[in-house]
């Protein structure tokens, strides 16, 4: 029964959602704070594209790729838990059937 008790664990999706929104809020606020929104397009076609402030798209890419990877992994763990719960339920049913026989 040890493994059944351990399944009381859950990855709390309701905690993750506000975390994502908060991260997005900070990100947007950060853009305004750095005066980059007012600076025009993120990737200008002129030679300004090599300027130090014009690499924001790379920072964006790193931020989103990192968090997408983390959330994908958490989703994988959550799915694995669901599978195990189903397997345990099947085992429980088969035990009940075999004990009745």
């Amino acid at each position: 029964m040890r493994f059944i008790n351990m399944l009381q664990y859950r990855i709390n999706k309701f905690v993750i959602a506000p975390f994502v929104f908060a991260a997005f809020f900070f990100l947007c606020k950060g853009l305004v704070g750095m005066d980059l929104m007012a600076a025009g397009p993120l990737a200008p076609s002129s030679s300004e594209a090599d300027g130090p402030q014009d690499n924001l798209k790379f920072l964006f890419a790193v931020f989103f790729i990192t968090w997408i990877a983390f959330f994908a992994y958490i989703f994988f763990l959550s799915k694995r838990l669901s599978e195990m719960k189903r397997e345990i339920e099947e085992l429980r049913k088969s035990m009940v059937v075999s004990s009745q026989e």
Binding site: F3, M6, L91
Partner: protein, 224 residues
Amino acid sequence: MRTALFTITTILMLSTIYMIFIWVPTEHNLGVSQRIFYFHVPLAWIGMVSIIVVGVASVAHLVSGNNKWDALAYSSAELGVIFATLILVTGAIWAKPVWGVWWSWDPKLTTTLILWFIYIGYLMVRAYSPSGSQGRRYASVVALLGAIDAPLIYLASIWWRTAHPDLNIGPLAESSLDSDMLLTFVVALIAFTLFYVYLLWERVRIRRVEDTLDEVYQYASVSN
């Protein structure tokens, strides 16, 4: 305890994001792209810590035969793949604006790529080797090879000519960051480390349930 760890990690991670995008000053030479540093270096740190955890847990498993060490090694390897992949991806994204190329065969990059292959190798050995203790022992040997690679990555910028800057972390660090940048870096490092510990904790719990289920299935197949 687990809830407390999750709460602290969340607060620190939000603080890190705030500091990176709003608080920390922009570096003069590299500009905004320097802020990638606060993601990239903690990820690299965890990638190396992870393989050392895999190596130490594998040795403990070989010595004691206790499956809980094996669960720790496997879980850390799985997390290590994610972190090692992110090191390579974020590094490539940072290299493009700074070096002008997505990839170069720099010693640090090359040894990190080797680490990624070792992680993949470890998980493949676990997936395709015989189930039970024999497969675990094979994988432990791969893990030990990986643990040797971690110091190579760390020392690559000292031993070989490399485009990477000075070390910012560890006993040989010669960081030239100003105080605000250093504080942001330290907070990011702690946040990502706690995040790794939290994920590892959860993964180990799930792994042990998986092991128990396997034992039940094996017992059932023998009984039948």
